[in-house]
Symmetry: C3
Subunit: 260 residues, 3 copies
């Protein structure tokens, strides 16, 4: 049983996702389709790249990831189909696939060109339906990657930001805020512990402080704290409350940590 997993910025209010699924099932009625999410916010390529990177390895080998976050739709940007060590990835050449391709390794990249495997006509604005969905469906039926277009080597790169140590300071960034309001950083627990060497620390975000690392949401009742979350990164959380609201935090903001 082949699986196609969808990640887009299309939201769920329109008929866009439903129609893409119709296109897929018309080509391969036996495939299983899974939604990763469609609600990352319009045009957020970097956020989609992070979510894809954080999701793909949980899926069965051979899963086809269909990713449409595509502000350049209808322009000259390439449409890609990629086979990595364990998976297939389909999406626009704007970096959204890049961190996942690097992480899984062994990428064989094709620029989608063969109109035989696309809808006809192709609209200027909805390549999710007209280009990417049929390609995913044909791959799920066993069509070889090389039949879809021409092999290319250079694709757009996009690197997720890394935490750094500068002198006596550990500098990280909020790379994602989940819908509970937890602030996912790019700092590993191990990195923090190496940096603090079991001494106290103080982290600053929007002039507010975090001074504690907890093992569960229930350890600290009032103050914000770090906790290693489901992304296996440190998250800033507040018991039963939204850290986003408490800190008025936004994705991309810096976190500065000092030893006490």
């Amino acid at each position: 049983m082949k699986i196609i997993a969808l990640l887009t910025d299309f939201g769920t209010e329109d008929n866009f996702i439903g129609v893409m699924k119709g296109v897929i099932l018309k080509i391969n009625p036996e495939v299983t389709i899974v939604d990763i999410t469609h609600q990352i916010g319009a045009h957020k390529v970097k956020k989609a790249a992070f979510l894809l990177y954080s999701s793909f390895s949980y899926f069965p080998k051979g899963t086809i990831f269909l990713v449409v976050v595509d502000p350049g739709v209808g322009s000259k940007r390439k449409a890609l189909a990629v086979k990595t060590r364990n998976y297939y990835f389909i999406g626009p050449d704007n970096g959204v696939l890049f961190p996942s391709l690097e992480a899984d390794g062994g990428g064989e990249v094709v620029e989608i060109m063969n109109k035989k495997y696309l809808l006809n006509p192709i609209s200027s604005t909805f390549h999710g339906r007209d280009v990417f969905a049929p390609i995913a469906a044909y791959l799920s039926k066993g069509i070889k990657l090389e039949k879809l277009g021409r092999r290319i080597v250079d694709i757009k790169e996009l690197d997720l930001p890394q935490a750094k140590i500068r002198k006596n300071t550990l500098i990280g960034e909020i790379i994602y805020i989940d819908s509970f309001g937890n602030l996912v950083t790019n700092i590993d627990r191990v990195t923090l512990e190496k940096f603090t060497k079991n001494r106290n620390f103080v982290a600053f975000l929007n002039k507010k402080k975090i001074t504690r690392l907890c093992d569960s949401y229930l350890q600290e009742k009032k103050k914000p704290f770090f906790i290693e979350g489901g992304f296996f990164k440190l998250e800033i959380s507040l018991k039963m409350k939204s850290a986003r609201n408490y800190f008025k935090a936004k994705e991309g903001q810096k976190i500065v940590i000092k030893r006490k």
Copy 2:
């Protein structure tokens, strides 16, 4: 593999859609269920009719469309099951199916009456679960349409609004606004081009102007423009921004186009 595609105004916050799927799978565990959308807004029959009409042909032949936008639930309005040339459509007799039935043609219409194929008891308020879902499931198992009730001929009509030329003016309407804020009109690209005959034009919406037809979202950086969108109708868009917000536009508003 049979497919049932759902389009409702139930939203995704309640358990309504989940329960309908349970009912379907209890009758036919082998069917594939696809959501078109459930977030069109309560009681918006015309909007649902447009989305169904714009979606159905992308699905495999034989797909059963289960449409529940039903402000008259529990009143005397009929419940319909329809076989068209290529599909099945199930829903209330309030016009929501009408444009799709006309477009696919060859409709054989049954008023759902046979209690053998419905849940027992039938609530006054949730025919999606008690009437429409089991009917869809039984159709997907191959039960013949004529077993579900009695054949009828007259059903409620609903016509999607058409663009018109009046003297020197092309008059269209916003028939849908997508979640990116693009304003989908009922004007075809061909209609506009025939009307303008390659001369300049100016379109008015809420006292603001559109003067350009683009081929991609990236052609025009600052001003609003027309583009042929995924519905193969002209849409009013703004690069990386919401045209809905820019124009303070609402569905149903008129667009007036004049030659310069």
Copy 3:
């Protein structure tokens, strides 16, 4: 075909639900996954308990309910897998499963402990992915309940509030507000009719009145009314409008009914 039905408070904006489905399909690619809802609001255990209780019996025998509303994740609260007369239920031991277990009867309860059937590593914050999803998948493959951990007897109880008659007053409560704004009470139609004995009544909610019981949304055009809804409980509704907004109502508020 085995079915796993998901009910969580994770929302649909993050990749959490998608990743849980990936985990499930990696273990059992043949299972059918259905969403009941993920949008009940963070940490609302009682609301989730009500929705699960109102949903489960519509699903096919043997369905596995995977319920993750889990403010105590990472603490000492137990993780449960339960086999009832007709179904399986998986979730945290915080009462969320309790009303459904009581209603279906015959529960055999296991505290999930066997790491062989869990992901490795297990995060502190996302047991939906690391504990509950793999357990559901293994159950769907036919692994016996007793292999998952040790049998226990005592679990956390949670009782849904019951309507009561006190002297000349029937006292109920809003137990759920749906996304149309209908106020679902815990009062049965039969209870109200026994109480009123066909005489007039007046119900009070936030100093506003309800005096009528209707059979359809279309019977009463202007005033709020009771109607027996899809939960087979009385709901307070307004034709084509939100009773939530009209009454400024909240879940948990009391409704007091007197005979006139």
